[in-house]
C-alpha cells in the first residue's frame, strides 16, 4: 500500500517538474518533438531509478558509517555525473539516432536537479532501499508524463496561429504554466488516506 502511494505521489501529486519545479531545463529543451521527448524521459527515468539506489547505498553504507554525511551533496553529484556519462555511452552505441536527437540535453541530465533532488529527498524522508527505488522510478515516470504531454501540446502549438510576439518559446512557457496549474488539482488527493 505504501509503495503504491509513493509511486502515485511521485507521478501526480509531487510531480517533479510541474509541482516541485525541478528539471525544467530538459522539460523545455527537449519537448519540441514527441519522439525525442520519449527518448529523454526513458533516459531520465533510468538515471533517476539507478541514482536513487546507488545514492541510497552510498549514504547508508559509506557516508553515515564513516560519519561524513555532510558530504552527501558532493558525493551524489559525483555518482550522478558518472551514471550519466555511462548512459550517454550506452545510448551512443545502441541508438545513434536518439543520441543525435537528445544532443546537448543528454549530458545536461548531469545537472538535472530532478535527479539530485530525488536522491536527496529519499534520504530526507527516510525511505528504505525499495522505497527509494520506487520513488526514483516514480519521479522519472512523472517527468516522463509531464514532458510527453507537453511535447504533444508543443507539436500542436507549432501549427497554431500564435501571435508573432509569443511565437516559439514564450508560448511554450505560457503552456507550461497552465500545465503546472492543472497539476495543482492533484494536491490533497490522498489527504483522506494518509
Amino acid at each position: 500500500m505504501k509503495l503504491g502511494l509513493i509511486i502515485i505521489g511521485a507521478i501526480f501529486v509531487n510531480n517533479f517538474v510541474l509541482s516541485q519545479f525541478l528539471g525544467i531545463c530538459p522539460f523545455l529543451g527537449v519537448s519540441k518533438q514527441l519522439d525525442t521527448a520519449i527518448g529523454m524521459s526513458v533516459a531520465v527515468t533510468f538515471v533517476m531509478g539507478l541514482a536513487s539506489v546507488i545514492c541510497w547505498m552510498i549514504q547508508y553504507y559509506i557516508l553515515i558509517p564513516l560519519g561524513i554525511g555532510y558530504m552527501q551533496t558532493i558525493a551524489f553529484i559525483l555518482v550522478i555525473a558518472g551514471l550519466v556519462q555511462f548512459v550517454e555511452m550506452v545510448i551512443k552505441k545502441t541508438s545513434p539516432a536518439l543520441y543525435q536527437a537528445l544532443g546537448i540535453y543528454l549530458p545536461l541530465i548531469t545537472t538535472n536537479c530532478a535527479v539530485l533532488g530525488v536522491a536527496i529527498l529519499n534520504i530526507d524522508t527516510n525511505y528504505n532501499l525499495i522505497e527509494s527505488l520506487i520513488n526514483g522510478v516514480g519521479g522519472g515516470l512523472g517527468f516522463a508524463l509531464a514532458i510527453i504531454l507537453f511535447a504533444g501540446v508543443r507539436e500542436r502549438l507549432e501549427l497554431a496561429p500564435t501571435p508573432k510576439a509569443l511565437d516559439g518559446f514564450p508560448i511554450a512557457m505560457l503552456a507550461a504554466s497552465l500545465f503546472s496549474i492543472a497539476f495543482l488539482g492533484f494536491k490533497g488527493l490522498f489527504s483522506g488516506l494518509l
Binding site: I62, L63, G67, I68, I74, K92, K93
Partner: protein
Amino acid sequence: MFDSIGLPVIVLGGIAVFFGIVLAYASKKFAVEVDPRVTEIRDILPGANCGGCGYAGCDALAEAIVKGEVTVSFCPVGGDDVTAKIADIMGIEADNTERQVARVICCGDKDNAVEKYEYQGIEDCKAAEMHAGGAKGCRFGCTGLGTCVRECPFDAIHIVNGVAVVDEDKCTACKKCIAACPKGIIELVPVSKEVRVLCKNQDKGKSVAEVCKVGCIACQKCVKACKFDAIKVENNVAKIDYSKCVNCMMCAEVCPTKTIYANFAKRKKAFIDEDKCIGCTICLKHCNFTAIEGELKAKHKVLDDKCVGCGQCALKCPKNAIEMK
C-alpha cells in the same frame, strides 16, 4: 584533523576512482567508430560555426558532406582553398563553381531617385515597405534603411547615399540579405562578372524617367550593342545572361541613363606575343570588334583603341599567343 579532512578526501576520491575505472571500461566496451573523414573535414572548415551554410555548425556540415547530402563547396565562407582540401579528403574533383557575391540591383541613390514623401517612421525597410512601398518614388528600388546591413554577419553590405552596396571582398554569399530584403532586389552573381544592370523597374520608360534619373528605360541600345547576345530586355528592364557575358562592357558604354554599370578600370586588353604568333588569322576572324589586323602568315596586331577586352581571341588562338592584361 585526519577525520575532518583526510577521511572525506579519501572516501570521495575512492568513489571517484571507482567510477573512473567503470567509465574507462565502458568507453572501451561501447566505443563507437566515427568516420575519420568527419573529423578531418571539421578541422579544415573555418570553425566559426557561423551557420551560413544552414547547418547547426561546422561539425554538422562536416557530417553532411561525408554523408553526401551537400557538395564539397557548400561552406560559403571557406572559399576555394577549403573546398579543394575537402574535395581531396572526399577523393573527388572539386567542381569549379566560381565564388558568388550578392549584388543590390538598384543605383537610384539620393541624387538620382525622386522621393514621393518624407519617411519619418521606424528605420527599417520592412516597416517603410508598409507605407505605400517606401518613400522612394520607384516601387522597385532600394529603400535604403539598412535592413540588409543589420542582417549581414560579415559587415559586407553598407548604405551609401541611400542605396545598399555590397563589399564584394567581404561577401560570402550566405544569402541572409537576400532573405531580408523586402524588395527582393539582391541577387547572387559570379564575382568575375564586372558588368551589371542596376535596375529592376518594370514600368514603361516614361514612368521610370519620372521617378529616377538612372532607371532602365528599356531603350534596347544595350541589346543592339551586345555582340554576344547576352543582354535582353524583359518586362521593360534589361537583364544580362551571365553565362554568355564576357565582360566587354559595350552595353555599359552605350547605356544613355548609365543604368548599366561597369568598372572600366578593370577592362582588359589583348596582347599578342609575336614570338608565338604564326599568322593563322583565326583571332582576327573571331574578333567582333575588328580590333585585330594582319595578313595571313604575317604577325597580327591588336588595335588598342578598338579592343574592348572580350577575350574571345585569346580563347580561340591555337598557339596561346594572346594574353589578356
